[in-house]
Amino acid sequence: MSADEKLLTLNLKIWRQKDAKDKGQMVDYTLEGVSTDSSFLEMLDQLNEKLVGQGEEPVTFDHDCREGICGMCSLMINGQAHGPEKETTTCQLHMRSFNDGDTIVIEPWRARAFPVLKDLTVDRSAFDEIIMAGGYVNVNTGNAQDANEILIPKESADLAMDAAACIGCAACVASCKNASAMLFVGAKISQLALLPQGQVEAEQRAANMVAKMDELGFGNCTNEAECEASCPKGINISNIARMNKEFLKSAVKSKS
């Protein structure tokens, strides 16, 4: 516990929805004795223990590693994906970011491609489908040459790593008014386009992944950069430009 630990009383407004078919509604809860040292999800654990104690169903939400890397946690907190802190996932957000007596509104990701399954849990399998459309290098196990035979300039490797840091949480989609998945798709296309291993299939990859993204009902990009602002890993919007470049190359070639 930190030296300045305090206990908060909070007014929570939480989206409750029984299953995918239910209409759903906001429900109010009051929670006392929340330590400022607790994480946001530990605060929800505390609420759930209270609900279970009262014989009520706890709030369902996605989470797993609680270290900000698995990409499972996913909450709109007071209208912001992953809450108020910059480059911080919900599981790494701590209650010291809030004040005693605050009202906190907690909702699931909202996007046509991510139907709500229950309460705050949504179905993000659309992201797997996009990766299936080309988010890989076609190389089977056993085919590899010695790793040092592929020389990669440090700058390219670093840029590829910046893009590869995406955790697939979908905050970018949730925070975009068009529910566009361009930052997610752009990050994967960029990572592979920046490396020699991914060059061979770069254009085809861009064409296929973009087509799949459209097919699944994700919206277009209108350059508002909300995605970049809400990304817990600070993925840069320039990855979208790189994706557009690869996409354009493939479109021009397929016409000629």
């Binding site: 930190s2 330590s35 706890p58 609680r66 499972m72 890989y136 590899a144 990669i152 300039p153 790593m161």
Partner: protein, 641 residues
């Protein structure tokens, strides 16, 4: 009657065993591979790499995970790196040295032949991952970068910033998605294995429960690969993910798969200390911090002055004092135990007194704050976010936490458990790390098993046992029986109608485990633990309160099922720790120590693997053994002085 297990180690010198074995194993011809169905449970490094590779070969793979995507498996959280003996830095590394270090690091309780194979295929892993587009760290000339890790005397660790596990897993996941697109893998997400189906002594499939609908399903296959990770969450607080669990392995155990060395647990020295009762999990700070941080506590008991006001001569840099040649870089088990000693001695720091300092003041003075920021910036930020303290200005507070389990399902050299057709890969098996795992070796083992071992040994099993024609479908009555038993169990949990939440029981179990089966163990405590866990288990089945219904998502019900298994597994861990009357690696028995309080092995009586065999819920399990022989790395007392 206890048994002596046959590990099926191939003949010949250790360096030739795997090559000889690969040649001798039977092959399944390419046209026949599509006639075999393989189930892979878990999609971490082991499961994802095995799924992808087997599908590439032509097998039909059904891959199951409990998360919403295979990419979320907890391998993703590994920070530091992956070892391989490439010797790119030209600093004296070799396959033999990696093999030697791993056997010694495991305190001579691992199987030599397995470890050698691991060291051999490690180089292929780096090649494979680079080919997939894993963005490893690079030098300016474009070659791969290496660093030293966990006290190794060579730089053999490859890394992708502080996110190596993430990048390797995303590589394996992308290979998996490539095969899913082709239809060779069917990926089943939010689908939890709840039983293993064994017919006439042979594995024939699994039963699952869908986490979204609550529906139970039967799945038949020619082989089942359990890639389900470790069971560290038995302690409630650990660095494992919240849903990491031991249930799949435990079901296999109850169907006849023996459990190897359940008491071998790795307690990692550099974690962020517990903040209070609401704590849900612990966060690891990469071991690399010990390259520059100095561990200390006050010399005086109960000295609660702020660290800055404790003068140099009143500080005890106990690792540097006790281990002058390795200093702060001693292996994990040694560092953890010494932290506990200092705290038990009343010299712990911080408000709770359950922490030691990891101090960067000297490193910042020497190299400048900027250099330290470049090396550890993301870790310092994470620490700051969690604790609200600035580690550039005040020393970090750290404390050991449960991190990894070296024990697991017993497997032979082919990664097969004692139930034919059921294999265990990665952390789920017991085989390669002995009694203590070295840093950056978990990623290596998960990928070695999945990319380069199982594709050979599975083919040999399928080809040798006549499984082309000998098939059992999910219509077999045994599938219905197993499904019915699973449904009954979940129904029972749902209708106990008790008064205490699942987490209450889990926390209580965690407390017993941490106190009595934690960093330091003794006969009296272990006996008490066995009784206490047994009582707690009885109380659980009488008084647990599970809300909700059997239809739809019910997180409390999922948790109840896993905690019920932990309440049995925890007892087996205590039992194993009690019977192993020696200290080795992470297993420290107070009765067995050197005059300097180091772990003292008893090679005469315990140079073996303990493989526990289930005998029924009310009967004590049998302790079988596999003798370990050390022909290449002579048995010596580990010393880091």
């Amino acid at each position: 009657m206890t048994k002596k297990l046959d590990s099926k180690i191939p003949e010949g010198p250790v360096a030739e065993k795997w090559d000889n074995h690969r040649f001798k194993m039977k092959l399944v011809n390419p046209a026949n591979k599509r006639k075999f169905n393989v189930i892979v449970v878990g999609t971490g490094l082991a499961g994802a790499s095995a799924s992808a590779t087997l599908a590439e070969l032509g097998y039909n793979v059904d891959a199951f995970c409990i998360q919403d995507s295979p990419r979320r498996a907890h391998s993703i959280a590994a920070q530091g790196g992956v070892n391989a003996a490439k010797n790119y830095p030209n600093d004296g590394d070799s396959i033999w040295r990696l093999f030697y270090d791993t056997v010694k690091g495991g305190d001579y309780r691992a199987r030599e032949a397995n470890v050698y194979r691991l060291a051999q295929v490690a180089n292929n892993i780096i090649d494979q991952c680079a080919a997939q587009g894993v963005p490893f760290a690079r030098e300016y000339g474009g070659t791969l970068s290496n660093r030293s890790f966990g006290g190794a005397q060579v730089s053999r660790t490859f890394y992708a910033r502080g996110q190596t596990g993430q990048q390797l897993l995303l590589g394996a996941y992308s290979a998996m998605m490539k095969e899913t697109a082709k239809g060779k893998i069917k990926s089943h997400t939010r689908e939890e294995m709840v039983d293993l189906v064994v017919v006439e002594g042979r594995t024939r499939g699994i039963i699952t429960r869908n986490i979204v609908t609550g529906e139970f399903k039967k799945w038949a296959a020619d082989a089942v690969l359990l890639c389900t990770g470790g069971y560290g969450n038995v302690y409630f607080l650990s660095t494992n993910a919240m849903t990491s669990n031991g249930s799949a392995a435990w079901k296999a155990y109850k169907k006849g798969a023996m459990f190897g060395n359940p008491c071998y647990t790795q307690i990692h020295p550099t974690c962020i200390p517990v903040h209070g009762d609401a704590q849900s999990k612990l966060t690891l700070m990469s071991e690399s911090l010990r390259n520059d941080g100095r561990v200390w506590v006050p010399k005086k008991q109960g000295d609660n002055r702020p660290p800055g006001q404790i003068p140099e001569e009143e500080r005890d840099y106990y690792l540097e004092r006790k281990y002058p040649s390795f200093g702060n870089l001693v292996p994990r088990d040694v560092a953890s135990r010494n932290a506990k000693e200092a705290i038990d001695d009343g010299r712990g720091v911080g408000k709770t007194g359950i922490a030691v300092y990891l101090d960067f003041a000297d490193a910042i003075k020497r190299d400048g704050e900027q250099a330290i920021r470049e090396r550890y910036g993301n870790l310092f930020d994470m620490y700051n976010r969690i604790t609200d303290e600035n580690p550039y200005q005040v020393p970090m507070r750290i404390y050991p936490a449960v991190h990894y389990t070296m024990g697991g399902l017993w497997v032979d050299y082919n990664l097969q458990t004692t139930v034919p057709g059921c294999f265990a890969l990665g952390e789920a098996n017991f085989s390669d790390h002995g009694a203590n795992r070295l840093g950056a070796s978990a990623l290596m083992q998960g990928l070695a098993d999945g990319y380069f071992v199982i594709p050979y040994t599975l083919g040999n099993y399928l080809a040798s046992e006549g499984l082309m024609t000998d098939k059992v479908s999910a219509d077999h009555p045994e599938f219905d029986k197993c499904m019915k038993e699973s449904q009954d169990r979940f129904n029972r949990l749902l209708h106990i109608g008790g008064s205490k939440s699942v987490d209450t029981f889990h926390k209580e179990l965690g407390k017993i485990m941490w106190e009595r089966v934690g960093m330091s163990r003794n006969e009296d405590g272990l006996k008490k633990a066995i009784d206490e866990i047994s009582d707690l288990r009885k109380e659980f089945w009488k008084d647990v309160k599970v809300t909700g219904t059997e239809v739809g998502i019910n997180v409390e019900l999922e948790k109840a099922n896993r905690v019920a298994d932990f309440l049995e597994l925890g007892e087996l861990m205590a039992r194993d720790a009690l019977e192993r009357r020696e200290s080795c690696g992470g297993h420290f028995r107070e009765e067995s120590q050197t005059p300097e309080n180091e772990a003292l092995r008893d090679d005469e009586n315990f140079c073996h693997v303990a493989a526990w065999e289930y005998q029924g819920d009310e009967t004590t399990p049998l302790r079988n053994t596999e003798e370990l022989t050390f022909e290449n790395v002579p048995l010596t007392q580990r010393s880091y002085k």
